[in-house]
Symmetry: D2
Subunit: 290 residues, 4 copies
């Protein structure tokens, strides 16, 4: 719900767990005039586990520049504990590319929310393998790139997309993009591509999950947002939700009902990513939800 | 929620769909002085579908005996439309056997609710492959049969259970019974054995679903109640529900959280079966929920 | 989920309960070649209750015109049982006016869904007391009427709105319309005005429900869609839903989180109204949900 | 889900917010050999707010006794920041009294879970104004005190209960205790009496909430657990949940459906209290949920 504001910075940390980390980090920040206003932490195991940390701090009384703070943190804290870490600057918004085919329900919701300031992002581009949604996107003043894909030009099309994306984006959202990305593409954006799968994973992987769900006679349908890895539908799950259905619903009606769940699950994943709330832990996620 | 009362009968019907069925059934009942007080129906398809019907009717002003009503229905309505049908007598309670191993949370809830009159059933017996829960069960005045099962005596043990059950029960509830029933056993009680699987089927079939769920990093865990068929975990699903979890929960904690969902999902399935709300349609169920 | 199609008609009935109604209605339809494909019914009480019925029937084999069917139904069935009833013609779409102030989240969702054919309605007009949303609405080719309201011209403004609406609409949706309608206005459209209240009624009636909810420290916030009557926030409830919140959320964040619930609850109410699924029963509703 | 174990201690803190608290607390613990394994915190406001903290720490490598640690914490940290604080000893279980009238569904669930070790508590006594549930309680080896209450002996009865409770209990659970406690009684156990109200507060305060809910025609019923204060049904809310209902349910059926929600909401509140997860903030609660 909170957009990035101009005085709040965020620190994310992953490192081998050991006593003293919280003391070291919090004392470091305190000594530099940073006031911690939100603090969340997780230890994956009491023995030899991994330590995960997300905190927000206020920067108005900082005794040095943002860059100096980061440098000092690296030298005095991060290196001692073997940390992977990231400090996001106050007010920084992530750049989010959207890839889409023809379904517009997730796309439109994202465009809307970003345009209203309801999500801390900018959208430098939308890329689609169809030209259908151009008008809808350009109305928001966002560049729309139509890159047709067929079985013969797949590698080329991906190369063109990668070229557009290279260095321009912090996160890529597949808002019902009906093409499978190559391992090479994925490797260029590790843990930065968010997909929505229209089932409650790991049930119903692959094509046509609503038809599969209808065939099996389930009483709840679901949707799953996850980071894309090279194994289709196997990446780290970010969020899931379900919707009750009954014998009265056709497979087509499941599809309709499911769209609202897809949208909801996608919005949460995107928001959490934009707010630096997600840390990937192997093939799982740690999500520091408000 | 409603217990069977002494004036309410129920009719269940399955037959090929065609125009005129509702008119025929409701007129037949009206002419015999039966007052329809609840009526639910489903057509699986507009073309060549199957018609499913459940209705409740009041019997005080019936112009004939319950038996005569059934006979007339067979001759005048059911035969004409090729119906599978069943009329439950007013006040009839189904006889429910419970099979259990060592987990008592589902068992105890069933014993409790039946003993309070909160579920329209009698419990003629509890059968277990362990002796642990004997005292808990006998306190309710219910016979407890301990039939040990090991890899050598499985067929024998099943034969002994079938002998006990034969003709004595209308439904068999596997309240965490940790043995796989043979196809022969299942065939003797088609669509009358209710199992609870501790996952959101079809995800995580087989053993240790909570560990599987933890390994996969899902954000919701679930439970599924279904009729047992000869294919393990593949029978018609009756009810499902889920519970939100996070990265903070260990596999053991998922197991604990899941128990409440298991119990809830099982209770609904059992109640619906006892109230004649479920009709099996191939490998699916039609559930006429209140 | 289902849009009206060209062969499906619907019958809604309310009348004093007595035996024989289902038989009379279903036999009447059968004799005219109407094939019942969905049938739902409710009796408010076993003694001296009210009987409610909704059914869908297929009209291709009807032996008379739609008008003749309605006339015959009136003479042969409805009059005998003292019915309030309505038959909607196959393919008929209700005309829906939307009244809105400045919040566009509910409005846009309605415009979108109708324009996609996802809701069986036409939108003859949008009326607003502000001019802000004109462009958004006119893009869809829908007339936008700006009728400013202030404390001096309220009666006049309402009169102007009534004039626009008179005979042109079947249902009026208050998509966050921040003006209280006079009893006279409401009386002109009884059970045809749908409002969304941003709380779980009857908790937090009146202004600023999110602030009230925050002050009270509730753990769930809600939204309620209801028909407007002359008593503010007291009309028959159509649908409600809730969203979990915690001590971490400010009143402003409750407002943000609540918008999704408002939208969802409003969409369901509107859809059900358009599909003739709601019958008002005193100050309550009977909702025949799929 | 987690029971207290023998090496995990917990610290709860409430104090005026200011920079440096996390650093001070975590460094203090680190210096004494305490390893923080769970840490949750909340600031009620960025300006002049209140700071709330809950943390778990491992004690095997502590360099002093539990008492010395507490003393040092008081002198070196708590006094400097004006803290209200509490350190629970490793393995400590709270003593929980249960007050009940005749409804046993919440009572039995508590007895069961404590007896299985599923909740970190002991139950020194059950007090009831009726004698009905004596056998059920004594089976668990728990003393049952029958203190009849009528309009003439209310003060006396309370005095007797207070005498029994005095110094013997850490928390009092009203498991459907149908008597209103006097302000004097409540004042003796501030924020230590947990009640369940069978509605979604603040809707339907007072008697017969299910009948009130039915009369209003709500589409969800709820239950609320809260700390008892001298204002009936107005104390700080701990947890709430809801259950979907429809026009088909009678007021009696709402009562039946509601019992499961009541039980669930009560169990969560009790568990969280036992695990020191709740801090009262004025008339609200901060709940550090796992």
């Amino acid at each position: 719900m909170t957009a990035a504001d101009d005085a709040t910075a965020r620190l994310l940390v992953t490192c081998p767990d050991q006593p003293g980390i919280i003391s070291a980090v919090s004392t470091f920040l305190y000594n530099h005039g940073a006031n911690i206003t939100d603090f969340d932490q997780h230890s994956s195991d009491q023995q030899d586990g991994t330590f995960f940390l997300r905190l927000e701090f206020q920067t108005p009384d900082l005794d040095c520049s943002h860059e100096a703070l980061a440098n000092n943190f690296r030298n005095r804290v991060a290196s001692r504990y073997g940390m992977h870490w990231h400090i996001s600057a106050p007010g920084a918004k992530k750049r989010m590319a959207i890839l889409v085919s023809r379904h517009d329900h997730v796309l439109m919701d994202l465009l809307w929310r970003v345009s209203r300031g309801d999500m801390p992002a900018t959208i430098p581009m939308v890329i689609s393998n169809h030209d259908d949604l151009r008008d809808e996107v350009e109305r928001f003043g966002i560049p729309y790139h139509h890159i047709p894909v067929n079985k013969d030009n797949k590698a080329e099309a991906e190369a063109r997309a990668l070229e557009l994306l290279d260095g321009q984006v912090d996160v890529i959202v597949l808002a019902r993009y009906m093409q499978i990305l190559s391992p090479e593409f994925v490797a260029r954006h590790p843990h930065r591509i968010i997909n929505i799968h229209h089932s409650f994973l790991p049930a119903f992987v692959g094509a046509n999950p609503y038809q599969q769900a209808w065939d099996r006679g389930v009483k709840l349908i679901g949707a799953t947002s996850h980071y894309v890895t090279e194994d289709l539908d196997q990446g780290p799950i970010i969020e899931q939700n379900v919707q009750r259905v009954s014998h009265r619903h056709s497979a087509a009606e499941l599809r309709g009902l499911g769209q609202d769940v897809e949208r909801q699950v996608m919005l949460r994943a995107v928001r959490w990513h934009l707010e630096d709330r997600i840390i990937v832990d192997g093939n799982k996620t740690v999500v520091f939800v408000k």
